[in-house]
C-alpha cells in the first residue's frame, strides 16, 4: 500500500511494529487541534488559579464606627476547584509535551512504541480533565442555585465576579476537553491492525 509508512524495525514477515497511515493533512490537523486544546487548558488553569474576590461586610456598629470584616472567596476553599486546577495543569503539561514530541520527535523512534503511548497517555489525560471539569461544574451549579433541601445558600449573588470567572474557566476547560477527545479519536483511528509487510520479495 503506497500510503502506509512502516516504522523502522519491522523485519521480514514478522509483525513487530504497529503501522500508522502517514497522512500529512492528518498530522497537521492533530497538531492544530492539540495547540488549541493546550491554550484552552492553560487558560482554564490560570483563570481558576487567580480567581479571588474579597468583600467587606459590616459586622457590627459600635457608636458611630462600623466594624468591618472581609470575606474572601478563593479557589483553595473548595477541594473540587483544587482538583480542577491540578487536572487542567497536568493536561496542559501533557499537551505541551505532545506538541514538542510532534515537532522534534521524528528523529527518535522507540521501535514504534510511540504510536502506542500517545493514545494511551491521551486517554488518561482526557479522563483527568473530564473528572475535573464535571466536579467543578456541579459545585458551581450548587453555588449558583443553592440547595434548599440541605439548607445550603447560594453564594453567587454576593460573589458575582468570582462566579463569572469560575464559569469562564469551566467553559475553557470544556472546550479543551472536547478538542482532546477529538485528537484522541483521530489518533486511535490512525492505528491499524498490523498487516505483515513481506520484504522478502526481491525484484
Amino acid at each position: 500500500m503506497a500510503d502506509e509508512k512502516v516504522v523502522e524495525g519491522a523485519e521480514n514477515g514478522a509483525c513487530q511494529t504497529p503501522v500508522v497511515s502517514a497522512n500529512k493533512a492528518n498530522d497537521w490537523l492533530i497538531f492544530l487541534l492539540r495547540l488549541f486544546a493546550f491554550f484552552a487548558t492553560v487558560s482554564a488553569t490560570v483563570v481558576m488559579a487567580i480567581n479571588k474576590q474579597t468583600l467587606t461586610v459590616v459586622v457590627a456598629t459600635i457608636g458611630r464606627t462600623p466594624i468591618q470584616a472581609s470575606v474572601t472567596a478563593k479557589f483553595q476553599h473548595t477541594p473540587a476547584f483544587i482538583f480542577f486546577v491540578i487536572a487542567n495543569g497536568l493536561a496542559s503539561i501533557h499537551n505541551l509535551l505532545m506538541l514538542i514530541v510532534e515537532l522534534i520527535g521524528h528523529k527518535f523512534d522507540f521501535k514504534g512504541l510511540r504510536y502506542l503511548l500517545i493514545p494511551i497517555l491521551d486517554m488518561l489525560n482526557v479522563a483527568l480533565v473530564s473528572g475535573g471539569t464535571s466536579a467543578a461544574v456541579f459545585i458551581g451549579e450548587l453555588a449558583r442555585n443553592g440547595n434548599s433541601h440541605a439548607k445550603w445558600n447560594k453564594i453567587c449573588d454576593k460573589f458575582s465576579t468570582y462566579c463569572k470567572h469560575g464559569g469562564g474557566a469551566m467553559i475553557a476547560s470544556s472546550i479543551g476537553l472536547v478538542l482532546m477527545i477529538i485528537v484522541n479519536v483521530i489518533s486511535i483511528t490512525k492505528l491499524r491492525i498490523q498487516k505483515c509487510q513481506n520484504y522478502s520479495r526481491l525484484p
Binding site: H77, S130, G131, A135, A150, W152, I155, V185, I193
Partner: protein
C-alpha cells in the same frame, strides 16, 4: 479474533454492567428522613441535580454494556467500539468525580461558603450514596481496563 482475547473483555464488561446497575439502583433506593424541630426533612436522590445525573449516567452505561455484550465482535466494528467505550468511560468518570465533590460537601461541609454538613442528620442516606459511589468507581475502573486492553489488541503487539 481469538477466543482467548475475547474472554477477558467479556468478563470485564460483565463486571462493569453489574457495577453500574448496582450503583444506579443503590442511589435510587437511598432515602432517609430526619426530624428537626418538628419539621420532617426527607433526603432523596432527587434533591440534587448531581445525584440525578449520577443515576442517568449509570443507567446509560448499564444499557450500553448490555447491548455491547451481545454484539458479535467483527473486526470492522472494533474501532468504532473503542471510540464509544472511550465516551462511556468519560461519562462514568465525570459522574463519579462530580458526586464525590458533592458528597464531600455533604459530609464535611464548607465553612467558607456557610454550608453545613448534613450526614449527621441523615446517616443512612449518606451510607447509601457512599456505596453507590464505590460501585460507580469500580465500573469506571473496569471500563478503563477494557479500553487499555482493546488498544493493546488493536495494535496487535507480539507476546514477548
Amino acid at each position: 479474533m481469538t477466543l482467548a482475547k475475547r474472554v477477558p473483555i467479556f468478563l470485564l464488561r460483565l463486571l462493569a454492567l453489574g457495577a453500574s446497575v448496582t450503583a444506579a439502583v443503590v442511589m435510587v433506593s437511598a432515602r432517609d428522613s430526619a426530624q428537626v424541630l418538628n419539621v420532617t426533612f426527607e433526603a432523596n436522590y432527587t434533591n440534587s441535580p448531581t445525584f440525578k445525573y449520577f443515576v442517568i449516567i449509570n443507567a446509560v452505561a448499564g444499557g450500553y454494556t448490555l447491548i455491547v455484550l451481545f454484539c458479535p465482535s467483527k473486526v470492522s466494528l472494533f474501532r468504532f467500539l473503542l471510540v464509544s467505550d472511550l465516551i462511556v468511560t468519560l461519562l462514568l468518570d465525570s459522574s463519579v468525580s462530580a458526586n464525590i465533590a458533592i458528597g464531600q460537601v455533604g459530609k464535611h461541609g464548607n465553612s467558607h461558603a456557610g454550608w453545613l454538613p448534613i450526614c449527621n442528620q441523615v446517616p443512612k442516606f449518606c451510607n447509601h450514596v457512599a456505596g453507590a459511589l464505590i460501585a460507580n468507581f469500580v465500573a469506571s475502573l473496569a471500563y478503563l481496563v477494557i479500553l487499555l486492553y482493546s488498544l493493546h489488541i488493536v495494535l496487535n503487539l507480539p507476546k514477548p
